[in-house]
Each structure stands twice: as C-alpha cells, then as structure tokens.
Amino acid sequence: MKILVCISKTPDTTSKIAFKDGNTKFDDAGVQWIINPSDEWNALVRALELKEKDASIVLHLISVGGADYDPIIRKALALGGDEAIRVNADSSDSYFIASQIAAVAKEGAYDLILTGKETIDYNGSSIGGFVAELIDVAYVSLATKFDLNGTVATIDREIEGGEETNEVSLPVVVSCQKGVAEQRIPNMRGIMAARTKPLKVVEPIAVDALTSLVSFELPPAKAGVKLVAADNVAELVRLLHEEAKAI
C-alpha cells in the first residue's frame, strides 16, 4: 500500500495580507509560513493514523514549489512519512501544479492520494479533482471520515445539504477536511529523524498553464462600525430594516 499526501505551504492564519510589485505578488515580508492547515491536520494526520495501524504502508509527501518549500517539507516529514518529493517549479496555475503531482503519482503507482480540502491562500479546492482526472481514478471530495478495508475505502463526504457514505476501490484521490482524523498535537520529536529522511527534488514536466494571475486587490475598507446603545435594541432593528435593508 502506497499513500501520497499533497503538502502546500501557506501564510500563517494571522498573516497580514498585502501585495507588492504593482499588486502582482503576495508581500511575504514578516510572514510566517505553515503547512496548509487541512493538508496537515486532515490529510497528513489521517495518513499517519493509517500507517500506525499498518506499518507496511509506504507514505510519501509531495510538494510543488521552489527551494523555499524545503523547511515546510521538513516540518511535514517531522510529523511522519517516509520520504518527500518536491517538484521544483513555481506556478499560480493549479492545473499546472496538479499536472506535476499527477506525473509523480502515475510514476509511483500510489493506491491513495490525499489532499486537504483547499489551501487557505488560493481557496481553489481543485487540486484533487485535477489529479484524479489526469490519472483517471475516482475522486471523493470533502471527506469527513475515511476508513480502509483491504483495497476498499469507506468514506463519508460532504454533499449539498448533508453527508453521504461512499465505498470505492483503490486507487482513489480524496480531499480531506475536518473530522477525517483525530485532533492531535504534532509530535516534534521527529525533527531529528526528518533531517535524514530523503527529500527528492525532481524537475517539472512540460505543461501549458490554463490560467494566469493578472493582479491582486484588497477589499475596500469598511466605513466603521455604527454603535447602538444596549438599552436601545429597537434602534438596531430599525437600522437593519430601514438603512441596511437586511431584515
């Protein structure tokens, strides 16, 4: 059994969002980078839980990015996993990124490919779907529970207005969200071990990007809060009804 977990690097959740170079680049001055939360807490932690139960599982991590990704990949390796692969490319096009992951996935003949539900910077929720189509396997999105029984996965996933339980034969691509894994405090004792784990850097395959980033913009500043006295709740209701037309 071979599992591949996709790891993305994102700004820390408290980061101030600003742009530079004529609003074409994220301004990372002073920004702390983290493993994208659902990649770490949902996809990776679930893969580690599976490996704890079955030591024969081979667990690889994959990232697509430049050398600036390495500290994040080492951190992920410290949480667990046998080795990591970094495809040495930088792109804003998620199809391009997914194509790199798909190439590695195909070559490595993985049985299970896990992603987080979305990155907190690009919010595309699309890597899993791209990869599944490119390697022509089933895709289960937004999983909230994941169990393996031999080569059949039983997965609960979010659907419009509820949840559904799916059974699917491996190989499969699954995007993971909250619920899929136990909450756990990362065990950073793995840090030393992670230094000696293989981190393979491979060059990207040639792919034409389907989209290109033109610019970023920030939302217009809020006008400021209108405060209403606590003993005048009727006034709040009037404002919401007449001014904001929200009720």
Partner: protein
C-alpha cells in the same frame, strides 16, 4: 456558441444556488453575445421549463438515475458531451460542494481553464479576466483564462438573482452515463434547517454564550429571522454545537446578506470565514473586541440581556 450553466439538484429539486449561477450565466452570455443554456442531471420533480424565468432559452436534461448521486468521474463525461452538443465556450458551475467535486475534473478533461470561487462577471475588455476570492476572503485575485473553453465556479451568495417572465424549451440529452466508480451506501441529509452555505441571514455565537444550554435564545433569534445558525471554532471543538456550524478559516466560509455575531471576539481566523458578509452586526460585552473593527453595526452589551430584547423587537417588526 453558448454559455452552458450547470444546474445543481438535490433530492430531485433544483438548488437555490442554481438560480444564482443561472442569473450569472445569462448575464455573461449577453455580455459576450451568445445564448445561455442549462444542463440538469438526474431525476428532477420540478418543472424545468420554468428555468426560463432566469433567461435561459434551452434546458438539456439527462434524466438518468445514476446521476442522482454526484460521481465526479461520471458527471465529467456527461458534461464533456453536453459541452460538445451545445458548442459551449463557457461552463458556469456553483462553487458549492458539487462544484468542488466536479469543476476541476471537467477542467482537466476539456483542458479548459478554471477559475474556482469567482465573485463577479469576467472583464472581457482585454482577455477573459475573472475576479475570485483568495486568502479566505481577505483579498481578491484577477485571473485570466487563456483557453478556448472556460470554466467558472461561482462562490455562493456572491451574485444577485434576477428573474422575469419566460419559459425554456426542455430537451433530453442522450449522453453516455458510465458505470459509477463510487458506490453510495448511505445518505444523511440535514433537512428542515436552512443550510448554512445558502442562508441569507446567519446568527452565530461564540464562547461568550458560556455553555450549550444557553443556545435556546440563539436558535429562537435564528428562527425569527429565518436564519441559519453558526458558531466559532472553540464552540464546535467543545461539542457545544455540531461541527458543520463551524465558520472561519478552517471551517465553512460564508457570505450571507446579514451576519449577526454574538459573544464572538472576532479573531482573524474567524473573520476570514465571514468577512464577505454584506452586513455584519456584533453583540459583545467587551468594547475592545476586535470584531467591532470589522462590523457595520454593534452593541456593546451582555448577550443575555440584548438577545432577548432583539428577539422581541424583531417579532414586533414582523407583526407590523
């Protein structure tokens, strides 16, 4: 040429988010000088010709039961054929759970550039540039799609629905429905409540409510306003409320017309999930709570006193 609009259904009924993508797709078709057509998959009990109210001229229907469940692989094949049959140059889908399952897969199949989470019509004055939400609602990106066929998934609650008189012709589309790779063994719908992602009004509460036993007034307020209920992360983590109510950077991101935050401090990770709301109201006893900086209206006060008054004032408004 056409704009093909994917109309989502659940339990044999058209989804509210579909009216939004219909309006969006019809406006887009007018903008680029083509016509708008809809595609509906699975068995549906609603009158599909009524979708003409939103401006589509034709509705293509594949009434195969296999399609009552979303299997991304099966859907992709059907939509590929629908795109060919309608000569579509743009496909519009909601960025809801269905859209998240299928949009990227269709994009890869058709080699058609995807902008996931669009919030506005594209700027077609120089290319095809779509604005989308990034950094969990804290910023926007303008993304150009260069491919001949373009796919847009629209963030729920980002486009105002308009309708007028009109009927559409409904045609059966003979598409290939492949065997599903995914077997659905159970479905568990949260019925009765307003789904959070689609709600116009959301009443949300945080740790300031002290304990789950105090949620009665939150539910009553939500009931009066026909609103959905939401909560901050620690509230869901402590199991005071179900996890699907958790909004924020690591929970659901929502964009209702009105978001009422009660006893929530307004941490940056919480705001990331709600700051696309059109109007935000905060009730918090701490005047220094960061939420007041993001809100439109606020009351500095004790929720246990303010919320009951709010309920009775809203009742008064509704009785008038």
């Amino acid at each position: 040429m056409s704009v093909l609009i994917f109309v989502d259904q659940t339990e044999n009924h058209i989804k509210k988010s579909s009216y939004e993508v219909l309006t969006y797709g019809v406006k887009l078709a007018a903008q680029i000088g083509t016509n708008a057509e809809a595609i509906v998959l699975g068995t549906v009990n609603d009158d599909l010709s009524a979708l003409g109210k939103y401006g589509v001229t034709k509705v293509h229907h594949v009434a195969n039961e296999t399609l009552n469940h979303v299997d991304a692989h099966v859907y992709t094949k059907v939509i590929e054929e629908a795109v060919a049959a309608t000569n579509a140059t743009v496909v519009v889908i909601s960025h809801n759970t269905t859209g998240k399952a299928i949009a990227a897969r269709i994009s890869a199949k058709l080699k058609a550039g995807l902008v996931a989470g669009a919030i506005a019509l594209p700027d077609t004055s120089n290319g095809f540039v779509v604005k989308k939400s990034v950094f969990s609602g804290k910023a926007f990106a303008n993304v150009n799609i260069a491919t001949a066929i373009k796919i847009i998934s629209l963030n729920p609650n980002s486009f105002h629905v308009t309708s007028a008189d009109g009927t559409a012709t409904v045609e059966t589309l003979n598409a290939t429905v492949e065997a599903a790779k995914i077997k659905v063994t159970a479905v568990n719908k949260v019925s009765g409540e307003v789904p959070l992602s689609e709600a116009d009004i959301v009443v949300s509460a945080g740790r300031g409510m002290k304990g789950p036993e105090n949620w009665g007034m939150i539910e009553e307020l939500a009931h009066e306003l026909h609103a959905a209920t939401a909560c901050s992360r620690p509230v869901a983590d402590a199991d005071w409320r179900p996890h699907h109510e958790h909004v924020g950077q690591t929970g659901l991101q929502i964009a209702p017309n009105l978001y009422i935050a009660i006893g929530i401090s307004g941490a940056i990770q919480h705001l990331a999930g709600v700051n696309r709301s059109k109007v935000m109201v905060v009730i918090n006893k701490d005047p220094e709570a960061p939420f007041f900086k993001a809100a439109d209206y606020g009351i500095v006060g004790d929720a246990f006193e303010v919320v009951p008054q709010l309920i009775s004032e809203i009742k008064k408004l509704h009785n008038n």
